[in-house]
Symmetry: C2
Subunit: 281 residues, 2 copies
């Protein structure tokens, strides 16, 4: 297995960074996880748009233009003969002085790596049990909009959910509204409607979330945005998550309570898989 | 310069970690910065107490008992002939699988390193210009109690302050109360009183903060805790920060407005330096 480190292909075991890298010291960086299908990245441009938005917001130096990043990604997929999988693209601020100030940290670290899909793609969505955790997201936090390398909240949320026997954590914001899951966006079904919290609730602007909204339009099920608290989630007619690595994940249990299953959920999952295959063909 | 990596002394240039280290991937770790004076760590036990509290809260594996950590620290100080400086002790969850779940990450990464003091110790406190930044801390956030490796909020707060020509950022919580500065705790003087926000405001439980409270008692200036908003800070009689690496830092300007100077601030700074020298003698 090779990885691409600052533009060079190196065996994974030899891909190391300095203990002074600010990604390691302070989580001072960003990443993207991009679905690979038939050797091609799905929605590369949208992932890169989000990446550049983050690079600007964090004032990260990035001497590699988009064409170089695309070239590195394609070379890495060829090198590893990756057909299906996940491409991780990460940029940290690189080595710097002790202390939070990023002054003088002008040599960022870029890492591209490929990973297997967590599940082999299936026409049925993965099913997960969800647990509402105590950790909260600050509604309106500007950092929640970016896929940053400071992800301890998500790590501990997931850990808490797993310790309670669940597969994934449901995160509320400090006002009690549903924001997202540790690793995906949340959708629910009420009667004939498909809904999702607005990004202002504290959700990451997920690429798969965007795609599901598109597919909802195509299928005549336009997705509406709405705030929802935990209590209202207890009486919805279906619930699912969207993740780059898995597409649609159906929520079958929330805090130990079985969730109703909506036929729209597997339908959206299949439409997502079809779209991925078509665009990457 | 040597660093101690997982218990081994290695030249700093050779101290590298895997790109799969969860400290690098997700800021999944903790650290302490400990003042070194006359070859000895100041308040080692208190730093270690805070460290262990964090290790438990984050469920980090740590196979090294406190005596080993102390042994590594002492060996590193000898190796580098460090008389005065800062010792950084960092623990990350080590290499793990892609994804937030920490399952299976059982080989943590421990790094001890020494750094020069940012200022040579002087009987006068460093003076800083402060800037109130837009980023907010969530009041009551359990993660705010630990010195975690997910520190992007502090990095960007500091960056914003520096871009505005200031030395350091003042962070409010989401309710508008003063929480802390990016890298220290906040105190202020009102008439004869010295005050500081309660930790529940979202402040890290600083070791230097503790020491200043102790010294306040000794000097007959007991420190009281109180909530304070930005507006009230505009009419206080003096303001300072406490940092492990600098002791007391006097705030001479806040958002472009000059701050009154209180004679208690340099007095506390000298008492702090005396205490450090006495305990480390």
């Amino acid at each position: 297995m090779k990885v691409c480190l600052n533009g060079r292909m190196v065996p994974k075991e030899e891909a190391v960074i300095s203990i002074e890298d600010r990604g390691f010291l302070y989580g001072d960086g960003l990443f993207e996880s991009i679905r690979i299908c038939s050797n091609r990245p799905f929605r590369w441009d949208r992932h890169l748009d989000r990446f550049w938005t983050g690079v600007q917001a964090l004032r990260l130096p990035c001497p590699w233009p988009g064409e170089s990043l695309r070239g590195f990604a394609e070379a890495l997929l060829r090198e590893n003969r990756t057909v299906d999988g996940v491409l991780r693209l990460a940029l940290s601020r690189g080595p710097g002085r002790r202390g939070y100030s990023p002054r003088g940290a002008t040599h960022p670290t870029l890492v591209l790596s490929v990973h297997p899909l967590p599940d082999s793609p299936s026409s049925e969505p993965t099913t997960w049990r969800l647990r509402t955790v105590g950790l909260r997201i600050l509604r309106g936090d500007p950092l929640a909009r970016h896929k940053t390398a400071s992800r301890l909240l998500q790590v501990l949320a997931r850990l808490e959910a797993e310790e309670e026997g669940a597969d994934e954590a449901l995160l509320l914001n400090h006002e009690g509204q549903v924001a997202e899951s540790a690793s995906g966006n949340v959708f629910w079904v009420e009667r004939e409607n498909i809904l999702t919290p607005p990004l202002s609730c504290g959700a990451l602007p997920g690429i798969t979330r965007e795609v599901i909204v598109e597919l909802g339009d195509r299928l005549g099920w336009p997705v509406r945005e709405d705030d929802i608290d935990r209590e209202r989630l207890g009486s919805v007619d279906g619930m699912f998550l969207t993740l780059t690595t898995r597409g649609v994940v159906e929520v079958v249990e929330l805090d130990g309570q079985s969730m109703p299953r909506s036929a729209r959920v597997p339908r959206l999952h299949r439409a997502y898989l079809d779209l991925v295959r078509t665009e990457c063909a």
